[in-house]
């Protein structure tokens, strides 16, 4: 197992390099120029050229073949991509083109916000989705099953922006129970240690800040959890239904095992493999796809940040942000693979 994990971790390196290359390449393929995006309507040719030179955008994207023909090897490799890789090897993600702020600094601030939101959403999705799926499968064709399936259908098809606005209208405008957006209320001081506000307020023993953070999290978490919750419910149900038709389940029933024992000890453990896989994939989706939730609830995470950076052709942000998401996604799926062994000892990674 240890060798397997080490092997998978080493395999992360070429995967991430591939991700870096693909992201870099696709960004350059999209038409548009960061210098023009920066200057807007004022763009004059000479200003654009000057800014392109300052940003190194006047160099070829990958390799300078003209320099090679002239025997200039240093010039041949002096490309945007090689410069980027060089910085990356020195743990430097670069600076935002527009804001001149180190990408790593902003990531340290924004990524915890997205992780906090995504993980809580996944927690809620699993907490509700798995029991609902089990109950649906155990009481197939019952009213509970119909309600659960109708609920999950609505959950899957519910537009997040609509749900978000409806929740703000209800909980913030009408009832005035919850703040309409943001991470903390004005006047609430949270000493940032990890940038996870829940953790930071607990570490500081600041109950007021903890309650405030939870209040701010409630609506975005529910909005973001809706789709994965629905998917997990449906996946758990169908997987459980498959397993419940297996012979060993019939045997367990025949032996007089309690329904509870059959469901949770015999069926669920076997039915959980595809559910775990879906959870792993959904975590990646939540990280990358939180942009709508972050927009509606003014959540300062990385989804909206990367989206804006794509529009503004802010290459370092797009590269740094997507690489981090790719890393978390790959790492999560590694954890999912490892979890298979514990759920089903027959699976041997060796």
């Amino acid at each position: 197992m240890t060798r397997y994990i080490i092997r998978r971790l080493i395999a992360l390196i070429p995967t991430l390099l591939g991700v870096v290359f693909v992201i870099f390449m696709f960004q350059r393929l999209i038409p548009g120029d960061p210098a023009v995006a920066m200057l807007g309507e004022h763009a004059a040719q000479e200003n654009v050229e000057r800014i392109r030179e300052q940003l190194g955008l006047n160099r070829p994207a990958f390799l300078d073949l003209d320099a090679l023909r002239e025997g200039d090897f240093a010039g041949f490799v002096d490309s945007q991509f090689i410069r980027y890789l060089d910085r990356l090897l020195h743990a430097d993600l670069g600076k935002s083109i527009h804001r001149r702020i180190p990408v790593a600094e902003t990531l340290a601030l924004r990524f915890p916000a997205t992780i906090e939101l995504a993980m809580l959403s996944m927690f809620i999705a699993v907490l509700v989705g798995v029991p609902a799926g089990i109950a649906s499968a155990a009481r197939r064709n019952s009213v509970l099953d119909s309600v659960s399936m109708a609920g999950s259908l609505i959950g899957v098809s519910m537009p997040i922006f609509w749900l978000g606005l409806m929740m703000i209208m209800l909980f913030s405008v009408t009832l005035q129970w919850l703040p309409s957006g943001g991470r903390a209320s004005p006047g609430i001081e949270i000493e940032t240690i990890t940038n996870f506000y829940i953790i930071d307020s607990i570490l500081a023993g600041n109950m007021e800040a903890l309650v405030d953070a939870l209040k701010h999290l409630f609506m975005p978490v529910v909005a973001l959890a809706t789709i994965p919750m629905a998917i997990i419910t449906r996946m758990t149900r169908s997987s459980m239904l498959d397993v419940l038709q297996e012979d060993y389940i019939r045997t367990a029933h025949a032996k007089g095992a309690l329904e509870r024992v059959v469901l949770f000890k015999h069926a669920l453990k076997n039915a959980f493999l595809p559910v775990i896989t879906i959870i792993g994939i959904q975590i990646g989706t939540l990280l990358a796809g939180a942009v709508l939730t972050e927009t509606i609830f003014s959540w300062p995470g990385i989804g909206r940040w990367i989206y804006d950076a794509i529009l503004a052709r802010d290459y370092p942000i797009v590269q740094g942000g997507t690489m981090l998401i790719a890393f978390v996604f790959i790492f999560t799926n590694l954890l999912v693979d490892i979890s298979y062994v514990f759920l089903d000892p027959r699976i041997q990674h060796e």
Binding site: P31, G32, E41, L165, S172, Q176, F297
Partner: protein, 578 residues
């Protein structure tokens, strides 16, 4: 089974009713006259004013940014030597107490306000002014960082180093500076008043280096508010400067909150989470105007949306075709349908707020029959759907993109993003194409790419057809509108070449007059010159001026004392929260 079906039916009914409720159009309230804010009260204790905005600031060093959200914040913290009079575009003294020019306006002597301190406790004086101007001007200045682009300095003062029209800034005494200009520059004071030329504390720049203006470095000026904190993507907090030379501000602090979604911003205001915001959608404005707890103020328009011709198209060189297109566009209809009560049809390029506008001009009226007649006069009695490339259009590498003589479909390029002068560009473009079709001019509506791509194509003169764009004024001077688009000469005898950025348009007479106006310090004489320029552009049907758009801002009724500025950042120091 029946019971189960009933449950499902009931569930579906609830969901459908929710969906229908959400989709139902709001009552279209007639946009009312902007309500006047209540008289400023005198609260016992100043409170926090929270302003909602769609995007975060780029940086808080105004000399290196161009976005309004940065200036909205820096305008409260930093001050220029001159500022715009509240609610107008007139430049009045701020950190300077006055500036006087010599006879040919090449030397400007400015006296500075004494006893003013930066928020870090250092003195504001002639040295501080010179430090800032030297930093902006000299590309080898240690604080003119390689990674920073001082775009507005280059743009407004014609370049860096020896190219700059500001030859030197000399210290006469501790509170007097003299600007020596390389050439007369009529809009000198209007330029000085721009947000980007606000004076920062030299000590703060020296201490923060390249971090000056970032969330880590903040900014330090002399303004009514002091920088406190910037949580990137979330909020910026500033606090009252009790020692402000103009008197303590009405709020204890201001929080600029980022709320990217337009509807969510309105709901945040309704929920009481913010006190004011800009960029409301039309439906929310109607709702705000009907709500007794809210009121709407408008920022007077200093912008113009237009439809430009690419003159590398042969047919557009025929004035009759241009007239046909002008008469075909239903501008009053566009205003009514897309701008509502906040828009006004543009008669000329200059907005009504700017002096120098030729008010005797009324734009060519909407009349499809007249349009068809002009089209017939131009030799297209059966309409126009295909046009001819007049000259080769090449890219940077010399590749011919459009060859002379090529027949291409007539295209109307619409903007991919909403700008204040075009609130719904795709819909407006669609309506314009429909108007043109009504007059027998069939134009394909085309999205040329995202904003950066669109601007790049425009800059290179590659939008081969009609294209939508606009302009928001920088300093309230007509030079900033007209000379940028149709002038740009650096001497009286320079020949005006067709400008790719302006659809290859060139008008020597217009350009020469604009040069003359740019160096003439007499506003009366300049006014006459700009009026003449507007008449020439009108006679030549150089471009189709569509609309000026006043920007609405929505406020909680608890707010008073807010002043909307047609140019520059709004003034927040008078804001009082009940």
């Amino acid at each position: 089974m029946i019971r189960r079906s009933l449950y499902v039916l009931l569930g579906l009914l609830i969901v459908s009713s929710m969906l229908l409720g959400a989709c139902a159009p709001s009552e279209p309230a007639a946009p009312a006259e902007p309500a006047e804010p209540a008289e400023p009260a005198a609260p016992a204790e100043p409170k926090t004013f929270i302003f909602g905005r769609g995007a975060d600031s780029i940086q808080l060093d105004p000399s290196i940014v161009t976005d309004g959200e940065s200036f909205r914040v820096t305008g409260q913290i930093l001050e220029p030597l001159y500022q715009y009079e509240h609610g107008t575009t007139t430049a009045i003294p701020a950190l300077a107490t006055g500036c006087t020019a010599n006879a040919d306006s090449t030397e400007w002597t400015c006296t500075l306000r004494e006893g003013v301190k930066f928020h870090d406790g250092t003195d504001f004086n002639a040295d501080a002014v010179i430090f800032n101007f030297d930093r902006w001007k000299f590309s080898d200045n240690p604080y003119h960082f390689e990674s920073q682009t001082f775009e507005y300095y280059e743009y407004m003062w014609f370049g860096f180093d020896d190219d700059s029209v500001i030859a030197t800034v000399e210290k006469v005494d501790d509170y007097t500076v003299k600007f020596m200009l390389g050439a007369p520059l009529a809009p000198f004071l209007a330029n000085l008043a721009m947000d980007m030329f606000a004076i920062s504390s030299p000590a703060a720049i020296e201490a923060a280096g390249e971090d000056y203006g970032t969330p880590a470095g903040g900014c330090v000026g002399t303004g009514p508010f002091k920088f406190v904190e910037w949580i990137e993507g979330d909020s910026i907090k500033v606090e009252a400067n009790a020692d402000y030379w103009g008197g303590a501000p009405g709020s204890s602090e201001i929080i600029f909150r980022v709320i990217p979604d337009d509807s969510a911003r309105f709901l945040a205001l309704k929920a009481g989470d913010i006190h004011a915001f800009e960029q409301a959608v039309v439906e929310d404005l109607a709702s705000a105007e009907a709500d007794p707890d809210l009121y709407v103020l408008t920022r007077p328009a200093l912008n113009t949306g237009y439809l430009a011709f690419n003159y590398k198209i042969k047919e557009f060189n025929d004035k009759n075709v241009r007239l046909a297109i002008y008469h075909a566009i239903n501008r009053p209809g566009l205003i009514e349908n897309f701008y509502g009560a906040y828009g006004e049809a543009a008669e000329t390029f200059l907005p009504p707020l700017i002096w120098g506008k030729n008010t005797s001009i009324t734009a060519y009226e909407y009349d499809p029959d007249v349009a068809k007649q002009y089209l017939a006069d131009a030799g297209f009695p059966d309409g126009l759907s295909e046009v001819t490339v007049a000259e080769d259009v090449v890219d940077a590498e010399g590749t011919v993109l459009y060859a002379a003589g090529d027949k291409i479909p007539l295209t109307l390029f619409y903007m991919p993003v909403t700008r204040f002068y075009y609130p719904s560009p795709e819909e407006i473009g669609t309506a314009m194409a429909a108007d043109l079709a009504n007059a027998g001019i069939i134009a394909n509506l085309e999205l040329a790419g995202d904003w950066s791509t669109y601007l790049g194509l425009r800059r290179n003169g590659h939008l081969m057809g009609l294209y939508m764009l606009g302009w928001g004024g920088d300093n309230g001077d007509p030079d900033n509108f007209l000379n940028y688009f149709f002038g740009g000469l650096s001497s009286a005898d320079e020949v005006k070449e067709p400008d790719a950025r302006e659809g290859w348009y060139a008008n020597q007479e217009v350009a020469s007059l604009l040069y003359e106006a740019a160096i003439n310090p007499d506003q009366g004489e300049r006014t006459a010159l700009y009026e003449q320029v507007e008449q020439l552009l009108y006679d030549d049907v150089a471009r189709i001026w569509i609309a000026h758009n006043n920007t609405p801002l929505v406020f909680s009724s608890a707010v008073s004392g807010y002043i909307t500025q047609p140019v520059g950042a709004d003034y927040f120091e008078g804001v009082v929260i009940e």
